[in-house]
Structure formats: C-alpha cells, structure tokens
Symmetry: C2
Subunit: 247 residues, 2 copies
C-alpha cells in the first residue's frame, strides 16, 4: 500500500482540494483508496458530501476499531473522518513519555492490506498530529500556491522534514504541486521558475486557478462530478495519471 501525506504547514495552499480529488481520481481508476483526514477542521468529509459517526481521534485512542470508523464515500473510496476530536488526540500524544509519534501508524496498521493507496489530508501548521501523519506515510506531496509566503513556507517545511527523516528514513518529499497557477499574474511565472530550480524532478504540472474547484465543495462533489472537462478536472486527472505511473 502506498501511503501519501498531502502536507504543507502553510495554510490555504490546496491540501484538502488535492487530497480529495487525487483520492477520488485514483478510485475512479479502479484503485482501492483510503483517505484519512488528520485535520481538526475535518473538511474532507464536507468536500465529499459524507459524514461518519466516528473519527481518526477515536481510532487512535483505541475506542473504535479502524474498519468500524470508515465511511464509504464513493465506489472504491473510503474516508476516515477528522474533526474537532483530534485536538484532544494531540494532548494525548504530547503526554506520552515515548513513541507518541507512532500513535496513528500503530492504530491504522490493521488497514494496510485492504487498500492500494492511503491519502492523508493534513492540517496546516506543525505539531504532534502533523508529525504523526508523516510517520504513518512514506511519501509526501506538498501543494504550494505560487506566492512568496507559500514558497517560503515550503522551504521551511523541507527543513522540518529533513530533521524528521533521521528517524523515518523511507520518508521522502516525492511531489511538489504548484496550485492556483494563473498565467495572467506575473509573479506566478516568477515563483514557478524558482520552484523549478529548487525542486526540478519533484515538480508536477501546475493546477491552474479554476473557480470550479472552490465551488465544488459547496455541493459535496469532486471536481470530476461537479465540472467534468474543466481546467480543474483536467489538471487533477493529469496528477492522478502521474501518481499511478510512478507505482
């Protein structure tokens, strides 16, 4: 099972949009996909238009078995919801004397055989829960909007990753995905060039700014359902193909 965290400490760069549309796209291609929402905001469920009685917090605390907490979101796509309860999980992790960073990994181990992909939507920021999500996965996909503060956030984030990789050698930043790409805006191209020089081979084809992507969550639909053939649907379809080819 490939486990990929969609992560960047900077807020509002398109993490949840990417996690949901990548996971849904992989499921449409016949893969068995688990999407884990590791964010106290719990927006993945809303974007998919589904709800569940349980969440990752209860599974990690051992109160609910992992399979009992899964919600069938689409054919081949299962969601483990996030939400407010994860704030309590952070306190539980922070109070552990050792091994706190492996709490999520150990709680989700029973699911390993059931899926081809696990896509983890992470919260903005850097805390015990972010670290837990990174210990659970082997690959990181970092969406980054083409703005100065987001680029700076990515540079800071890669430094944080490096110190974590000493304890989790297989973790690597596999994909850097430019988002909100708008050819009309001069700085988009400038920042994009900076990304190419910093991250070359990891850099994916950009996701263009597309208002359909910000409308779809209001209907609980993926971009493929809400606006098939839109730039947003095409760009995420392209990402899905690239991730599958890299098996």
């Amino acid at each position: 099972m490939r486990r990929i965290a969609i992560a960047l400490s900077k807020g509002g760069v398109g993490k949840t949009t990417t996690a949901v549309n990548l996971a849904a796209g992989l499921a449409q291609q016949g893969r068995r996909v688990l999407i884990v929402d590791a964010d106290t905001q719990g927006q993945a469920a809303r974007m998919l238009g589904v709800q569940g009685p349980h969440s990752l917090a209860e599974v990690a605390a051992g109160d609910v078995a992992p399979t009992a907490a899964l919600v069938a979101a689409r054919p081949g796509l299962w969601l483990l919801p996030g939400g407010r309860g994860l704030a309590g999980l952070k306190r539980v992790i922070d109070r552990k004397e050792f091994g706190g960073e492996r709490t999520v990994r150990e709680a989700l181990a029973p699911l390993d055989e059931q899926f081809d992909f696990a896509i983890v939507d992470t919260a903005p920021g850097w805390d015990a829960l972010a670290v837990n999500a990174l210990f659970y996965v082997n690959e990181v996909l970092a969406p980054v909007s083409l703005e100065v503060l987001a680029l700076q956030g990515l540079i800071d984030f890669t430094q944080n990753l490096r110190s974590l990789q000493q304890y989790h050698e297989r973790l690597h930043l596999r994909y850097v995905l430019p988002t909100f790409y708008d050819r009309r805006v001069r700085k988009s191209d400038e920042i994009h060039r900076q990304l190419q020089s910093h991250f070359g081979a990891q850099l994916c084809q950009p996701i263009r700014y597309n208002v359909r992507l910000s409308e779809a969550p209001g209907f609980g639909q993926t971009i493929y359902e809400y606006a098939a053939g839109s730039p947003g649907a095409d760009d995420y379809q392209h990402l899905v193909t690239k991730v599958m080819q890299d098996e």
Copy 2:
C-alpha cells in the same frame, strides 16, 4: 490596552497579512502597537523584514523577559516573533495539570502598560496555542476569504469560540473581515451576502483581491510602503480607521 487576535482556523485567509498591515497602520497613526506572532510559521517577522534573537516561546517558558524579546519593527511598532520554538511550547502547555490556557497571558502581562494595542497573529488550526492567544485577548478579528470552505470554517470557529467564552466572558468576535474580494467572481458576492445575513454589524468592508498584497512580503514591506495608493493599501487604511474609531 486593546488586545485583538487575528484568528480563523481555516488556513490562507489573510491572517498574517491583516495582522501586519493593521498593526503597521495603527502605528502610522501614532498609536504604540505590539504585534505578537503566535504561529509556528513565524511569518510576521518576514513580512516586516525584521528578525529577533528571541521569540514568544522563550518568553512564555520564562527563559527571556518580555521586553528583551521585542524587536523594533517600525516607529511605534514592536514585534514579538513567533516560529518553530512554539511547537515545543504547545507540549509544555498540554502537560500542565491546570491553568495551561493562561500561559501566554501571564507571560505578557508586564507589557500591558507599554502599548495602546496588541495585535496577535495566530496560526491556522485549533490547538493549545490558539486557545492561549484567545485567552490573552478581549477581541477577535476573523478574516474570511469569500469561498465555501472558508465560510464553513468561520461557522465552525464561532462555535468553538462560544464554548471558550464560558471561561473568558469578555472575549467577543468583534470584526469579520472579508478578504480576496473579487467582483469578477460570481460567488464572491453570493458568499458576501451570506456573511451579511450571519454577521451583520460585525462585518467590515471587504479587502479586495490585490496582487500587491502578495508581492509586498517578498520585500519585507507593509502594503503602505510597497504600494501606497493601491486597492490593498486603501482597504487596509479603511480598516485601521474603523478600528481606531471603535476605541
């Protein structure tokens, strides 16, 4: 001293942009202003083009006196930097048996007489640090981008605030500030209308989408310095005037 947190759990809505340009605008009007960066990203210092040897984490841990950690950012504007060290502070707060929520408030109390305003830039998400920032202030200004997920985030956030207000009665959501307002985009107006019906009197005049606001941080300048007369500078000037009138 008026203490205002710039806060919303949703990422990328313009919290840091608002904190820096509101604080700088108030200082330009002759007020004595403290800007506190309570975000592990520590982007307020970068936006102001300054750096300091110490941060809020050291002050809250009692390692450094508050006045020793302040950085003179502009005439009348002082910054208490944030940054990576705040991740450690969250663990310290989470391990306290009682009173953890007042850690920042108690650490910064010596500064109360020295300033007219304290503006706190908070991190996205909801955790011990966000709660600490809210216990330190009496007013909240919530920037909200005109998108479905951000509006949803604001509704969730006001519910979280309500449960906190039982323990901190004077705390209130005083301002809701629409950001990234773009008249060309149909949904901007639609979401703006929803905000008006939900938040009426608290709703401020929107900050328009203005590319100058995303360029200024690359030069360590406020919007007034980088692009005086731009829509961004005008809109933030208007906010400064409103906040001063509400003394």
